[in-house]
């Protein structure tokens, strides 16, 4: 899976005018040695820190949320790793890409 395209999820079939998409990939390690994490859980927290949704990552470590416009936190849980938080801003008509390194 090394060398998978960053943010490689297809947006076919998604009407971006009505969606504020947050998506990305969970990787263990950094740089050329980074490996996608296919058994992580990614949680979406709203601007007050309240849980909104959770998805397991795909085999390639990818995840996607259909959020509303605004500030969100992406929290990643994975085996043998501390939880990792990343702030992200979503807007209608765009895709916010998040890379999470654990």
């Amino acid at each position: 899976m090394c060398g998978a395209t960053a943010g490689g999820l297809s947006l076919d079939g998604i009407n971006l005018e009505k969606q504020a998409v947050i998506q990305g990939q969970v990787l263990r390690g950094t740089g050329d040695d980074a490996e996608p994490v296919g058994n992580a859980y990614v949680r979406l927290l709203d601007s007050t820190g309240e849980f909104t949704a959770e998805v397991p990552t795909s085999a390639t470590g990818h995840f996607r949320f259909f959020a509303g416009p605004g500030e969100w936190t992406v929290r990643t849980l994975a085996p043998r790793a501390e939880p990792t938080d990343r702030k992200v801003v979503a807007a209608l008509g765009s895709v916010a890409e998040v890379q999470v390194a654990i």
């Binding site: 009407n15 949680r43 909104t52 949704a53 959770e54 259909f66 509303g68 085996p79």
Partner: protein, 282 residues
């Protein structure tokens, strides 16, 4: 009702993988999750095909439920352990469903599939074969399932707890944020329903919070102990968790799950709907 009778740990499940009296069943929102790997000797129930009537919107009837469990090798005297992803959402839905049809000993694996994976416990792809049984279900227990007319009459009268995320409750989102938002019904919530998001019942690792924390959570929103309670979400799955917490963990009486939930209520003609973060008036 005590925790031990309705909830088991991942460690307990690992120690009972070969126990002939225990049937472990995975029920996931992502119905393909089992096929990618599951707890050894666990079987799968698909909530979209196994547990729903395929023509009208309702559960499979008593005979179909009996046939399903008989074919899958689940007997009346088995201890059924349910687990799944998303904080056990659909596992709790299946738990409520098994109780609806009167199964005696059914329990959730605390933390569900996520806790099992975060513990780095083994997942396998081999599908076990089980001997068929002759399962006999009871008639549906009407004391734990709410229908739409009862929900409309409960406005301003009973405790209505809407367990969707705050943005869904307020009408800013129509579905949980991991699903596309293109749906037909109106956004918002039922007047007088209070918002206690389902996720507040669980820790980050998916295990349930302590009884003390849960009691505090519901006391804070002003739950009236003397009133009956109806829990709802979008399709009745996340509210199964709240039903489990209130009815099975905290031992509240007269708690129902409204499986029609927002996809039904938000499509009804003429019923009141409130937008925004406040419960609103009856």
């Amino acid at each position: 009702m005590s925790r031990e009778n309705v909830l088991v740990s991942t460690q307990w499940v690992e120690e009972h993988l070969d126990d002939p009296n225990v049937v472990v069943i995975e029920v996931d929102e992502d119905t393909s999750a089992y096929d990618k790997g599951h707890i050894r000797n666990a079987i799968k129930l698909d909530w979209t095909t196994d547990l729903q009537d395929q023509v009208r919107r309702d559960f499979v009837n008593k005979q179909a439920f009996e046939q399903l469990l008989s074919e899958r090798g689940v007997a009346n005297d088995h201890t059924v352990i349910l687990y799944g992803g998303n904080n056990n959402g659909f596992a709790a839905y299946a738990y409520w469903y098994f109780k609806l049809y009167g199964h005696n000993d059914v329990r959730l694996m605390d933390g569900g599939r996520k806790k099992w994976e975060l513990d780095s416990r083994e997942l396998v792809t081999e599908v076990p074969t089980r001997e068929k049984t002759s399962y006999v279900a009871k008639d549906q227990d009407p004391s734990i399932r709410a229908f739409r007319d009862e929900v409309v009459e409960a406005i301003g009268v009973k405790n209505l707890v809407d367990v969707r995320s705050p943005d869904e409750y307020a009408g800013r989102l129509l579905a949980p944020a991991h699903l596309p938002q293109e749906v037909a019904q109106r956004a918002g919530h039922i007047p007088t329903s209070v918002n206690v998001p389902w996720s507040k019942n669980a820790n980050d690792d998916g295990t349930f919070k302590s009884d003390e924390e849960l009691e505090k959570l519901y006391a804070e929103v002003g739950f009236d102990e003397d009133k009956d309670t109806i829990a709802l979400c979008r399709i009745g799955e996340r509210s199964s968790i709240t039903w489990f917490v209130l009815h099975e963990l905290l031992g509240r009486k007269n708690v129902k799950n409204y499986d029609g939930s927002w996809t039904e209520y938000g499509s009804l003609v003429g019923v009141p709907v409130v937008l925004g973060d406040e419960p609103g008036e009856a």
